[in-house]
């Protein structure tokens, strides 16, 4: 007997992610899922962003890592409510892990939730966690060929932060070619060139977060 099913294989995750999303909307929290390779500068970007947001917005952080609480310790040092999720080997965060993580946060006291995904340029792109936007961080030292090699993450992201541009004088990074390829993979992608070290370009990023949060009445 043949049975017709027609079901999204990741439906179980997507159901939990939409429950998370509903909860965040009820609590008036804008949620950002920060993705990118190990060493792209996600945690440093978070630290800079949190310093900027201090006194403006009440932010919380979920740190996803395969192991250790090193990133959570860095963030907690900024007096920000932080939860560390250790995936114990899994290469990405999913809706269920984030649902567990938010139990450690007082959602009534937050306007923004920044989720740092596991460092990985592939897998996190496939899993919703209940976020409003996906942001990807990539650094110029990773090379300008990444849009063509890892298209999925470029496709699902709303914004791309090209980090470490202070190193451009020492590299053969083709900035124009990179941006052209990134837009060929996702024409709607918003690209910002930044340096977390020098602070260049970060004002635009802060402004973008403000706009996205305000659009949701936050």
């Amino acid at each position: 007997m043949e049975v017709k099913v027609i079901k999204n294989i990741l439906e179980a995750n997507e159901v939990i992610a939409s429950q998370n999303r509903k909860l965040f909307a009820e609590k008036g929290i804008y949620v950002l899922n920060l993705m990118g390779s190990p060493g792209a500068g996600k945690t440093t970007l978070l630290e800079r962003t949190l310093e900027h947001l201090k006194d403006k917005r009440r932010a919380g952080v979920i740190e996803g890592d395969v192991a250790t609480s090193r990133d959570a310790e860095r963030i907690a040092a900024h007096a920000i409510p932080t939860v560390q999720i250790n995936t114990g080997g899994a290469c990405h965060l999913d809706g269920n892990m984030v649902r567990g993580g938010i139990e450690g946060l007082d959602l009534d006291q937050l306007d923004l939730l920044l989720v740092e995904n596991v460092g990985n340029l592939v897998c996190p792109a496939g899993f919703q966690i209940g976020e409003d936007d996906k942001a990807m961080v990539i650094s110029v030292t990773e090379g300008d060929d990444k849009p063509e090699k890892y298209p999925l993450m470029f496709q699902v992201s709303s914004v791309l932060l090209l980090n470490k541009i202070d190193l451009l004088p020492y590299l053969d990074f083709d900035m124009e070619g990179f941006q052209r390829d990134a837009l060929k993979v996702n024409p709607k992608l918003k690209i910002m060139a930044i340096s977390c070290k020098s602070g260049e370009g970060l004002d635009k990023w802060y402004q973008w977060i403000e706009e996205r949060a305000s659009q949701r009445g936050i």
Binding site: M1, V3, N8, I9, L10, C123, E148, Q155, K184
Partner: protein
């Protein structure tokens, strides 16, 4: 990417659906995998085989239909199959296109042995 997680999710849905239809043995499972889904068909097959060495889907065959990347151009109006990953109209080179197919990750049908 994480084909073992996907295979596990697939097996859970298969078990649930089989249970709903009287718990008969599952002999064949058909899935659709889009070219841009990020899933490598061979890795999914390997992972699925590894977790169906017993249980209701023991030895079930996995049929994978690969769905091409198909776009519709908003400028010239044509629908075309492209290789990707660049999502650009091959005719007029416009980037103003809609993806029609290519992101599927879907369980379509399954074959159950008659429970009677």
């Amino acid at each position: 990417m994480h084909e073992s997680v996907i295979a596990q999710s697939l097996l859970e849905i298969v078990e649930e659906e089989a249970g709903r239809h009287g718990g008969a043995k599952v002999t064949r499972v058909k899935v659709l995998i889009g070219k841009l889904s990020g899933v490598v068909p061979e890795a999914l097959r390997f992972a699925f085989e590894a977790i169906t060495t017993d249980g209701i889907a023991e030895g079930a065959s996995l049929e994978i239909e690969e769905i091409p990347l198909r776009i519709r151009c908003n400028r010239c109006g044509k629908t075309r199959v492209i290789d990707g990953p660049f999502i650009i109209c091959p005719d007029c080179e416009s980037a103003d296109v809609e993806m029609v197919t290519g992101r599927e990750l879907e369980l379509r049908t399954m074959e159950l042995e008659d429970g009677s």
